[in-house]
């Protein structure tokens, strides 16, 4: 049983997804426990996988018993075991959270929503667990297709946003597919480990260069890296709350994982760093993305749209760490995959809860919100501090490693960008906190408590995931030293 865990992570939600409509026909209200069960099992398997990796090293799982490079191989090492745990926990959290918001936003489509939700999770798990380039494409498209469908059922304007996402997403995926084709042309293999072995002799080949470029551009489109981000703001803003909460943290993180895989596993680090100046280019693009995201976020009056731009800026952080291409930078990126998944899922869940209770997301309408939803807003403060990078929340530590990485390579400008973006984030989040917490008074008014506001906290199925992720943000911050020393330092390619 335990040795089947890597494949079970993918297969369980896939099969459960197909059964979901059947269950829905029978008893509509059973869908929710059904997907919780499914994702709990997946989460359990992913934790087992991580523990197995820590105890015994890399797991090779051959689908159908076919040996690589002919068969599809699931290769799980520290990096993807770690990302798997993050993704499975996050999707489980969002699944728990989704109940009420789906009932409110999509009352007639709950069954299909849950089905596609599971397919989405399947796609994410598959991308992470697979060791085969083409298999990765298939899962990437499963995840994307589910995403298109989920986004399209959102609010006013969502279908158009989703349509643009379809176009851009397809271009990205097709580029990726082309890159895989070129690699196959030169090496005759699709297995990542096999490619890593075959490619170094062919680094001079133009075909390999073209393949590499297509792969990186394709993945960058999927993760909405700065100049290729056009589809993201509308899509994630207009999607239903629980969909944004699932897609925003995970799609970008999973793509960042794919980028690390391609640049440092499939290709050797010295190819990505020295033969092509890809990492240098990426780090500057990332710096631009960080600033662009933060500045655009400043201009928003709608909280969810602001968060979407913050997300763009966070994508910049992830890529910046990859671009720095040294030990601390990559540690920062991998740590940030975890931290940012937590922060973004918490933020988008909080927005969903606010929308659920108040019906709007305009920051200027947040007066007295801390009386109305004290726990949700307290969570918002903590998560906000984490995004700003106030210790001991986890956001601080990924920034610590990223700045350290920039300092190690004497990239002062990049270090400056990181520092500056923290300050911009501070403005962003303290502005919201100010609106939610301060009740301006004229002159010296000392008259006791101000007008009574009915406390109207989010329902428990929303509140519990929010609070637990928020607690996680503080805990992960304190535990980050341990996480780095037990997992992340082994997840980094050996040559750093």
């Amino acid at each position: 049983m335990i040795e089947q865990a890597p494949v079970l992570i993918v297969v369980i939600p896939l099969i459960f997804a197909f059964i979901t409509p059947l269950i829905g026909w029978w008893r509509k209200e059973l869908c929710y426990p059904w997907i919780i069960l499914s994702l709990t099992l997946s989460t359990f398997c992913s934790v087992i996988t991580l523990l197995t990796v820590i105890n015994t090293g890399v797991i090779h799982y051959h689908l159908g018993g076919w040996l690589p490079p002919w068969g599809i191989e699931y290769a799980v090492d520290y990096l993807n075991a770690f990302v798997l745990v993050i993704v499975s926990f996050t999707s489980l959290t969002v699944a728990v959270y989704s109940k009420k918001s789906v009932e409110l936003e999509l009352p007639e489509k709950t069954i299909y929503f849950y089905t596609v939700f599971l397919l989405q999770a399947t796609g994410f798990f598959g991308i992470i667990v697979t060791g085969d380039m083409f298999n990765l494409y298939v899962f990437l498209e499963i995840a994307s297709l589910a995403g298109y469908a989920l986004i399209a059922v959102g609010e006013e304007g969502a279908p158009m946003a989703s349509f643009r996402y379809v176009i851009m997403g397809t271009i990205g995926a097709s580029f990726y597919l082309l890159g895989v084709g070129y690699l196959y042309m030169t090496t005759g293999s699709l297995n990542m480990a096999d490619l890593a072995r075959l490619l170094p002799d062919l680094y001079g080949s133009k075909v390999v260069l073209v393949a590499f470029t297509f792969l990186i551009v394709g993945v960058a489109t999927k993760m909405a890296l700065f100049p290729l981000h056009g589809w993201l703001p509308d899509a994630y803003e207009k999607a239903p709350s629980s969909v944004s909460a699932l897609l925003a943290p995970l799609m970008t993180k999973v793509s960042a994982y794919v980028m690390i895989r391609i640049m440092f596993t499939v290709f050797k680090p010295y190819f990505s760093i020295e033969m092509l100046p890809v990492t240098t280019i990426l780090s500057w693009i990332a710096a631009a993305a960080i600033l662009y995201g933060a500045v655009m976020a400043l201009a928003q009056t709608d909280l969810k749209r602001m968060l979407v731009y913050v997300l763009l800026s966070e994508v910049g952080y992830l890529v910046l760490g990859i671009g720095l291409a040294n030990k601390n930078g990559l540690t920062g990126t991998i740590l940030h995959i975890m931290n940012d998944a937590c922060m973004m899922v918490a933020l988008f869940m909080i927005v969903g809860a606010i929308v659920y209770r108040c019906g709007n997301r305009e920051i200027s309408q947040f007066r007295n919100l801390h009386r109305r939803m004290p726990f949700t807003m307290a969570a918002f403060v903590i998560v906000g501090l984490s995004v700003v990078g106030i210790p001991p929340t986890c956001g601080f530590f990924s920034k610590w490693y990223l700045i350290l990485g920039a300092v190690d390579t004497s990239q002062w400008v990049l270090a400056g960008v990181l520092v500056l973006s923290s300050l911009l984030n501070a403005i962003l989040f303290f502005r919201v906190i100010e609106y939610a917490y301060i009740e301006p008074r004229g002159g010296h008014d000392n008259g006791g408590e101000s007008l009574a506001v009915v406390r109207e906290e989010a329902p428990l199925t929303m509140l519990i995931p929010i609070i637990s992720v928020t607690a996680g943000i503080v805990l992960l911050g304190l535990l980050s030293g341990r996480i780095v020393s037990t997992v992340i330092q082994f997840a980094i390619p050996a040559c750093f």
Binding site: Y137, E141, A152, I167
Partner: protein, 126 residues
């Protein structure tokens, strides 16, 4: 030069097709035209994959008894590479699914805004 172009005409055709599709996806305002462009784009990639599996003078990769005796070494150069073709079976499924989702979204948009022109929709959204 002529050899370079004519000898690899299949690749040239794939590039041309791909660019046509790409232009339609990016440049056209009508959503259906965009979808058609997307389809051309993806089909071009299928052509590319199909052509990388081809070999001159090779035949279908089916080991029939008519072609040799048992125990004889198999001449790989006599058969085309089947793997890219198989991959494309999967890719075609993915592309059909993408097309289906895109068309479904197109119908949603049409029902909501009664038009498929991008600029008119954007005006209606605002």
């Amino acid at each position: 030069m002529v050899d370079f172009i004519v000898g690899k005409y299949n690749y040239w055709i794939y590039i041309v097709l791909m660019m046509i599709g790409f232009y339609a996806m990016i440049g056209k305002k009508n959503l259906i035209k965009k979808i058609i462009g997307m389809n051309i784009f993806q089909t071009a990639i299928i052509l590319f994959y199909v052509s990388i599996g081809c070999k001159k003078g090779a035949t279908l990769p089916i080991l029939g008894h008519a072609h040799g005796h048992a125990g004889q070494a198999i001449q790989t150069s006599a058969y085309i590479n089947p793997l890219p073709h198989v991959l494309m079976l999967t890719a075609i499924v993915v592309m059909v699914a993408t097309l289906g989702v895109a068309l479904a979204i197109g119908i949603m948009i049409y029902l909501k805004y009664n038009t498929l022109e991008e600029d008119e929709i954007l005006k209606a959204v605002k």
